[in-house]
């Protein structure tokens, strides 16, 4: 890391991520609390945050583990919830293509909702690909390291946070901050609305399977809406 620490683009990426880092502090704490509540060891909690490195997957995993769900269901649910990484991957791919394979493989690990949102703007602004890669690395490093600190803090001292603060609510707020800015097109809004109603309608399904069902129905609804838009509102 030392050879990057003095790089201008790396530092710019790191600095650009600091407001986002502040925003994910409560989320990281909640993940740490969840890991402790599920009976994970400190090493297990760190393994989750360091290797899985996805708040949504971690929360689902610890909740399903605590509920005693089978391994296959936990894996499937976390995988489907992580399908959005395919989109981020596809959107980042053209920007990372000029970089060496080694870099692509390393940067892919740091691809998160937040890193994607911050870096796509930087890449779209142009500049050399290496600078963009270092910017992404700086931001990803800021997120990953602060994610470990907040998760571990949540694991050890999260239970000291008063329940009246409703810290859990920071988690949906983080996702709202990610998704709401995209509610600009009719198919996107359709996908979200249908998915939101479906997740309630299928709440009776065991082991949070309503998440997968609702997500898939929402994707189909958004795609269908996209086709009807083509049909009725020719561009």
């Amino acid at each position: 890391m030392r050879r990057f620490a003095s790089d201008r683009d790396f530092r710019a990426g790191f600095a650009a991520m600091l407001p986002v880092v502040i925003g994910i502090v409560p989320f990281g704490l909640v993940c740490g609390v969840g890991a402790a509540a599920a009976g994970a060891s400190a090493l297990g909690a760190l393994g989750l945050s360091a290797i899985v490195f996805s708040g949504a997957a971690q929360i689902l995993a610890v909740q399903l583990l605590a509920a005693g769900s089978p391994l296959a269901v936990i894996v499937l649910t976390c995988f489907v919830a992580g399908l959005r990484f395919l989109i981020y991957s596809a959107a980042m791919a053209p920007h990372l293509r000029p970089l060496p394979t080694r870099w692509q493989k390393g940067l892919a690990f740091l691809l998160t909702d937040q890193a994607f949102a911050a870096s796509v703007r930087r890449f779209d602004a142009g500049g050399d690909p290496r600078g963009g890669g270092l910017f992404f690395l700086g931001g990803g490093f800021a997120l990953w390291s602060s994610w470990q600190v907040t998760n571990i803090a949540g694991y050890f001292v999260g239970n000291l946070i008063p329940a009246a603060w409703s810290l859990d609510f920071a988690v949906p707020l983080c996702f709202i901050a990610l998704v709401a800015p995209h509610f600009r097109t009719y198919p996107t809004i359709t996908a979200a609305l249908v998915s939101g109603f479906a997740v309630i309608a299928f709440a009776g399904l065991p082991m949070k399977l309503n998440l997968i069902v609702a997500g898939l129905i929402g994707i189909v609804a958004g795609t269908l809406a996209d086709f009807t838009r083509d049909r009725w509102m020719p561009r």
Partner: protein, 111 residues
Amino acid sequence: MDATLKLWAVILIVGALNYLSRLSFIALFAHRQVPPLLGRAFRYVPAAMLTALIVPMVVTLPVAAVGPALPKIAAALLAGVVAFVTHSQVKTLGVGMVTLWVLQALAHRFG
């Protein structure tokens, strides 16, 4: 299955699958054309999946009574407007949390 073993199985399998999803178009299918239908469906994955994650955290499921969830629903809607307008995660978080605290205090006082 032993709890520790199961936790590490989750960490390694989910970690590997998440990494493969992240790597997918950057390296694995970098030179492959995405079928048009799939490409179209892909666009709606984040909106559908994130909403499916958000809703159960705001409206406690299964829905027994709407009353107790009202402060969270109102705070989430206001936070959504803030996110839509400002694109700021910190402002969204701040407005959402403060709104929830105020509404919960009011509900506690007058509810």
